[in-house]
């Protein structure tokens, strides 16, 4: 890789960014040259997204220097970003969204080249994607939107992309599509482009990166070529003591009575962890939302709710943006500790303090606004909200989106403990690794259950096999 000896695309020297007292980025030096594929990892709130925003000019550094040796600005230098939270205009079509970031598209008939360009880009990165360039973005699934955004990031747009920053691009993609992306990133880098790849899925990082940069509390704590890291070494560098995850799934069969059964065939017993799997967008999220909505009412308040929901799409389904962290956690548990319809504020504070400790929310004051937290920490708040309630069934819609490895291990352990106490979990995940930890797995295809796996049947191969339509002679 080091044979691409040329001028760097961007150099950061001791760049720092503070938000009031929060030192989101605390002096980072980094050089990105053509051909680099940098894997950027770090715990939730380590400062990864902040670093991205400094490089692409979205934020100005509080101190330090950011230079583009070959150009005047990030835009001229060919720096492109694909952001952590989806940032397309949902009311516009795929092609029109390209127009937003492609200022040079002009003339009365700009639609034709716009369509051609985005289709070309999608075809290159995600062969067989099946996305219509004339479709409005809000008719696409979250995975398709992510794909469009990545395609726009890599598309030429009148110049060439030289550095593409991908902030957790695979968090809502399933394994197959993620693999297509990784292939493209590798190809892009060999052809002389540069990529900064941010992900909490360390496997992907190892697969794609030529160099790994580890951020911890706003500082670079390690920067080495990929082959000099081991998986455990990386996790250690990120500063979390990971729990032993070699542990096999517990023996099934010692569960309570069945307490969930849907028409679709989804079922769960007391104390069981049920996984939902399959390719993204095949109806898992809908099945879970349906289940939750049928077990709760928008009319009758329920003192002891039958189910709670952990959202994966936190902007749309989870976060109450004007509130403090504390109020965000307590909302589902309010009725449990109410006196004559009034909120018991002492109990509320108690709950939030307990969960801050148990799940490790990174903040010094739980009355801070929720939006001051990093993406992953907001996700932890949603977890805390669900677990703080006494509901027997916890429904989780890809809840680990953007949660770092260390926390994931903690949450897995927590889920195990709660399940042992009799809690039931329904857990949809885009990561097969997570699904494999469940007691039972339902695989979805085209909105229907295509397989039910238990115990030793739960393997990556079986899940994949059930996910894809098999050509069976009949």
């Amino acid at each position: 890789m080091s044979d691409h000896e040329s001028t760097p695309i961007v150099t950061l020297i001791d760049a720092a960014r503070h938000f009031g007292p929060v030192r989101a980025l605390d002096g980072v030096s980094l050089i990105v040259t053509p051909g680099d594929c940098i894997g950027l990892v770090g715990h939730n709130g380590a400062g990864k997204s902040t670093l991205v925003n400094l490089i692409n000019g979205g934020l100005a550094p509080s101190s330090g220097d950011i230079a583009f040796p070959a150009a005047d600005s990030a835009r001229q230098a060919g720096v492109r970003s694909v952001f952590q939270e989806l940032s397309l205009c949902p009311n516009l079509t795929v092609a029109e969204n390209l127009r937003i970031s492609h200022v040079a598209l002009k003339g009365p008939n700009w639609r034709r080249p716009a369509r051609a360009e985005i289709v070309q880009s999608l075809d290159t990165i995600f062969p067989g994607h099946g996305i219509d360039a004339n479709a409005e973005v809000d008719t696409l699934s979250i995975a398709e939107r992510q794909m469009v955004e990545i395609a726009i990031g890599f598309s030429p747009r009148g110049s060439t992309a030289r550095l593409v920053i991908l902030d957790e691009p695979t968090s809502s993609l399933d394994a197959g599509i993620s693999e297509q992306l990784l292939v493209h990133v590798r190809r892009f880098c060999t052809e002389g482009g540069a990529v900064i790849f941010i992900s909490h899925m360390l496997g992907e990082v190892f697969e794609v990166a030529s160099r790994i940069v580890v951020l911890k509390d706003g500082k670079v704590v390690a920067e080495r070529p990929t082959d000099e890291f081991t998986r455990q070494g990386l996790v250690d560098a990120m500063g979390h003591v990971a729990a032993d995850n070699g542990e096999a799934a517990e023996i099934a069969g010692e569960f309570g009575p069945e307490i969930v059964r849907t028409e679709q065939g989804l079922s769960a017993r007391r104390g069981e962890i049920v996984g939902l799997s399959g390719l993204a967008g095949h109806g898992q999220a809908e099945a879970l939302a349906q289940l939750y909505l049928s077990r709760s009412s928008s009319w009758h308040p329920d003192r002891s709710p039958g189910a709670v929901f952990v959202a994966g799409d936190r902007q749309r389904d989870g976060v109450l943006p004007l509130w403090s962290i504390l109020r965000n956690i307590s909302i589902s548990a309010l009725q449990q500790c109410a006196k004559r319809g009034l909120v018991d504020r002492a109990a509320e504070t108690r709950i939030s303090d307990t969960w801050k400790r148990r799940i490790g929310i990174r903040t010094d004051d739980m009355t801070n606004p929720i939006l001051s937290l990093s993406g992953g920490n907001q996700q932890k708040v949603l977890f805390a909200r669900a677990l703080a309630s006494s509901a027997p069934v916890v429904i989780m819609d890809d809840p680990m989106r953007g949660v770092d490895v260390g926390t994931k291990q903690d949450v897995y352990a927590m889920i195990r403990t709660e399940a042992a106490k009799g809690g039931t979990f329904l857990w949809y995940s885009t990561e097969t690794e997570e699904v494999c930890q469940c007691d039972r797995v339902f695989v979805f295809r085209n909105g229907e259950i295509s397989a039910e796996l238990t115990g030793s049947e739960i393997t990556e191969e079986n899940i994949l096999q059930a996910s894809f339509e098999m050509q069976e002679a009949s």
Partner: protein, 311 residues
């Protein structure tokens, strides 16, 4: 919650400034008289404003444009039922509140069952309420029972009775918003309805009770106003349409929902009365009065918002 952010302060400052400017003209004469009038008339704006605030808190697009028609209808039916007979005040009150609640239910039914945007549903419904009011009494002005009229125009401990009613209502709303679970639900629904639903909030119950509350408040305001001014008139609520929205936003509640501000509503209600009085006292014509009122409203909003971002 945090002492630094007090957007309601601005409405009170503006009200105080208008008050001072009037007194500057009279060199201090008539202060008590003016304050008394401001409290009397501010009370009506405060009652409808509190209701409108609850609805606006429900989030973008939520607003009740049927307040004037509901006031008129409730007052018309209540006064017709009382027929100036002594001892019927409570019956009238029950009818006014009942009509209000019924209007609120109807509004909500249109919004929920027919999925109409609230702004259109309440507008359309208000035309129907207006027709009902015309049909039921053809604009005949029936006097309230004497006892009721005396109560509405009377005072207790030096303050107008209507102001006491509005004050009690304000405290009730404040407690509900700040302390009750229903208040939390309302604020959560206002920020993100879908997220609130998925967090276990009975959002439709919250929305329904909110629309019923605002209409009930409007019914109460109509009942008191008709008793105060000697009878119901078909156009009696007209000026409370813009007024109810204005007092909410001048009072510092976020129009984006999820955030409300009870003391601000009272400050803004007093301000809206005092600013017109001030401009009248200084002899401003209708044109100047409107331009200045508008300019002051915008100035308050700007002041309150820059204050908020700095804090």
């Amino acid at each position: 919650m945090k002492p630094v952010t007090k957007p309601w302060l601005w409405s009170w400052l503006a009200a105080a400034a208008a008050f001072a400017l009037i007194l500057a003209l009279t060199s201090g004469r008539g202060a008590g008289e003016l304050a008394y009038a401001a409290l009397s008339f501010g009370a009506f704006a405060a009652i409808v404003g509190l209701g409108q605030m609850l609805v606006i808190t429900l989030g973008p697009g939520n607003v009740d444009l049927s307040i004037p028609a509901t006031m008129t209808l409730a007052a018309t039916l209540a006064l017709k039922a009382m027929g100036s007979e002594p001892g019927t005040a409570l019956l009238g009150l029950a009818i006014a509140l009942g009509v209000g609640a019924g209007a609120g239910l109807a509004n909500y039914a249109l919004i929920f069952l027919l999925r109409l945007p609230p702004i259109i549903a309440t507008l359309a419904a208000s035309l129907i309420y207006q027709s009902l009011a015309i049909w039921s009494n053809r604009g005949l002005r029936i006097k309230p029972p004497t006892g009721l009229a005396d109560f509405a125009t009377g005072r207790f401990l030096g303050l107008p009775n209507v102001a006491w009613v509005a004050l009690a209502l304000a405290i009730l709303v404040w407690v509900i918003l700040e302390r009750s679970i229903w208040g939390r639900w309302l604020l959560a629904s206002g920020q993100n309805l879908r997220a609130a639903r998925l967090a276990g909030v009975p959002v439709e119950l919250v929305r329904a009770t909110t629309y019923v509350s605002v209409a009930t408040f409007a019914g109460l305001a109509g009942y008191l106003l008709a008793s105060f001014s000697g009878g119901a008139a078909l156009n009696m609520g007209a000026e409370y349409l813009l007024m109810s929205i204005a007092v909410v936003v001048i009072g510092g509640s976020s129009i984006a929902g999820g955030n409300s501000n009870v003391p601000g509503v009272w400050g803004a209600a007093l301000f809206m009365f005092l600013v017109v009085s001030m401009l009248n006292s200084y002899g401003a014509g209708a044109g100047a009065r409107n331009v200045l009122t508008g300019a002051i409203i915008i100035a308050i909003v700007i002041a309150a918002s820059t204050r908020r971002t700095r804090a």
